[in-house]
């Protein structure tokens, strides 16, 4: 390692002053945002440091924080699990690019005694459970897709995220696509007004814990938390009618043959119709201003994102349970990153 800055950076320091204005020397790049992508960014930063000696600081302050810092020009790049909305895009003076970097899945997990093989659930069923229309585990709608599974006649306890979160964003985006009633009554967002009386916990680890401790509960978490805790994970029906387990591959398939990719790359990959595609999947975007005043930091951000979208960096995300980009989406993401000047 031949880093120009000899000391290790303190990643836990989240003060905005630390992330303030791009450095003149461009020996350091500051990023901030999504907590979901933090382990991945850290891995990339350390690999990038080995290769180039440049230091990348990434602060996991949450997607909204990342969006705000990019808009206020207090960080070199941001990262978010949900794209900026129209209002935010309009109110920002600079053109901000959405560059997909990695994908992840939201697993539906449950704690039902006596169910020994993965439950198969359709999106409509999940929506109805969270709308409070399906109240018991042995409801006909659940039984229909689960032949031979002995379902108890117990009340379903729904578990949700209490804090605003991209996980909730992806989950509700999927439910809005499969259930018109959900779309109308609840909608898509980082924080929601939940129709059911249930338990809300903070963070993925909180939801995972609540589901494990609460009998007859159902919840949703980033897939890695369900795997770490060895929790039961449901197979979800995709738009092609198949029931699919969330995995690194089934998420990549969700983005494999997208028919239409919008020019600004603010797309949703939930409820994909591709064969084998897992339907509750989401993209994490890096956010960068298209025109960066300081040419050196512009080059530094551009180079780092090019590295992140390179074959080597994309190849290492699977070990961290993220899904790599592929096909047209990867190509378009690379083109988008090249626009930074």
């Amino acid at each position: 390692m031949q880093g120009p800055v000899g000391t290790k950076s303190d990643k836990s320091d989240a003060s905005p002053a630390q992330a303030a204005s791009p450095q003149s020397g461009a020996a350091k790049i500051n990023g901030a945002g999504s907590t979901f992508v933090y382990p991945c960014m850290t891995k990339w930063a350390s690999e990038y440091n080995k290769k180039t000696g440049l230091q990348v600081n990434y602060q996991s302050i949450g997607s909204s924080g990342g969006i705000n810092q990019v808009r206020q020009n207090t960080t070199d790049f941001g990262a978010t699990d949900t794209p900026m909305n129209a209002e935010q895009m309009k109110e920002t003076n600079n053109e901000i690019l959405h560059i997909p970097v990695v994908m992840g899945a939201v697993a539906v997990t449950y704690n039902v005694a006596g169910v020994d093989k993965p439950l198969k659930l359709s999106g409509q069923t999940i929506a109805d459970i969270y709308l409070g229309k399906i109240k018991k585990w042995n409801d006909a709608a659940i039984a229909k897709t689960n032949d031979g599974v002995k379902l108890p006649e117990t009340d379903i306890v729904t578990v949700q995220r209490a804090d605003g979160s991209g996980t909730t964003g992806v989950f509700s985006d999927f439910l809005s696509k499969v259930s018109p009633e959900w779309k109308e009554k609840v909608g898509t967002g980082l924080s929601l007004k939940w129709p059911t009386q249930g338990v809300a916990s903070k963070g993925n680890e909180g939801v995972a814990g609540s589901v494990q401790r609460t009998a007859n509960s159902i919840g949703y978490v980033e897939v890695v938390y369900a795997q770490q805790n060895k929790m039961a994970v449901a197979e979800i029906q995709n738009a092609a009618g198949e029931f699919v387990t969330p995995s690194v591959d089934s998420v990549s398939k969700a983005a494999a043959d997208l028919k239409e990719i919008p020019d600004d790359l603010r797309l949703s990959i939930t409820n994909a119709a591709a064969p084998g595609a897992y339907p509750i999947a989401g993209i994490t975007w890096a956010l960068a201003r298209r025109k960066i005043a300081n040419p050196e930091s512009a080059k530094a951000v551009k180079d780092f994102l090019a590295f992140a979208l390179g074959d080597e960096a994309q190849g290492m995300v699977a070990t961290l349970n993220y899904s790599k980009l592929g096909g047209d989406l990867l190509k378009k993401a690379r083109d988008k990153a090249a626009l930074i000047e």
Binding site: I61, G62, S63, S64, G65, I67, N85, E87, Q88, D155, V157, A162, D163, G164, S165, V186, G187, T188, G189, L190, S191, L192, K193, W194, Q197, G198, V199, A200, S201, K202, G206, G209, S210, R213, T214, S217
Partner: protein, 325 residues
């Protein structure tokens, strides 16, 4: 705020006239320094209030008084009401006090009046240690020990015995509930009540107690009729301090209260508190109005704590003026 450099200081100066110049200089610096520190605190409070008010102005203008009467909380539809959170904060703190006051005063009485001399120091030390435990540790204990216990035993027992009251009805959602939050808070505030009540009880003059015994009173009668009336204002101060802690507690509460913005008649069901919603939703509050609403929730919490403190102080002041102990 300003402390007059009153007579004791002057007395001292005349007494030590030999080195007067230095002493006077030091006195001046100390006086000015402490005054500056005091004023700075007041200024900080005013600035804080001002800033919170400024940031919550969009929400105040948008919702007006409806903010305090609505129990709707819909971040997507941008409809916000603080009522469920206000209710949760007040109810969980009230539960905490109902449990903590008898325990706290009982412990303090035991430590000052009844316990063998050797035991007093040790028990007092342990109680003081309770106050030093970080709240997140209490939260974890609540999640892993208390909540399962609430679901398997306490909840069903309360529903069976007191279920005729709407206050104690299930279903139990994994043991997280308003009552669980109240219990955790009770454990957290007991040390405050004990510490202060103990100091106050120790100030009860031995003469008074001796006189009571001399008149033939039993120990219980002495405690009930002499010791407690003498020290109730001081103990009341301890309770106010405990209440302040309970109202503002964030981490432990959000881990066990269930985080549901609804007003339930039953304390065995989930609720939400103002501090908890701030901790949960502040990070990802994306729109301006949403952010402003959360600041207004913070302002409400601030004002509630402030008002309760003032009310308690007035109460204590009146108690003192009626019975001048």
């Amino acid at each position: 705020m300003e402390k007059k450099p009153g007579s004791p200081v002057r007395l001292f100066s005349t007494y030590a006239r030999s080195s007067t110049r230095r002493v006077r200089l030091m006195d001046g610096i100390a006086g000015k320094g402490t005054m500056a520190a005091g004023l700075l605190i007041v200024a900080l409070l005013v600035l804080l209030l001002n800033e919170m008010f400024r940031l919550s102005l969009p929400a105040i203008c948008h919702f007006g008084i409806g903010f305090f009467t609505s129990s709707d909380w819909d971040p997507q539809g941008e409809r916000f009401g603080v009522l469920p959170f206000l209710y949760g904060t007040l109810v969980s703190s009230a539960i905490a006090l109902v449990i903590a006051i008898p325990f706290g005063i009982g412990t303090a009485l035991f430590l000052t009046e009844l316990a063998p001399q050797r035991l007093r120091g040790a028990v007092a030390f342990v109680v003081d240690m309770l106050a030093a435990i970080p709240s997140v540790v209490y939260g974890l204990w609540g999640v892993f020990v208390l909540a399962p216990l609430m679901q398997s035993h306490v909840g069903p027992f309360l529903e069976k015995t007191l279920g005729f009251l709407p206050l104690f009805r299930g279903p139990f959602y994994g043991g997280v509930s308003m009552l669980t939050a109240g219990l955790i808070l009770a454990v957290m505030v007991v040390p405050f009540i004990v510490a202060i009540a103990r100091e106050v009880l120790l100030t009860v003059p031995v003469d008074l107690k001796a006189a009571s015994y001399a008149l033939g009173a039993t120990q219980w009668e002495t405690i009930w009729k002499v010791v407690l009336p003498y020290s109730r204002v001081g103990i009341g101060g301890g309770v106010v301090l405990a209440l302040g802690r309970a109202l503002g507690e964030t981490m432990a509460v959000t881990m066990v209260i269930g985080n549901q913005p609804r007003i339930n008649a039953s304390i065995l069901q989930p609720g939400y508190s103002m501090a908890a919603v701030l901790a949960n939703e502040f990070n990802e509050a994306s729109s301006k109005l949403y952010l402003s609403v959360l600041v207004e929730v913070g302002l409400t919490l601030f004002l509630v704590t402030f008002l309760i403190n003032i009310a308690a102080r007035v109460l204590l002041w009146r108690m003192r003026s009626v019975h001048p102990h």
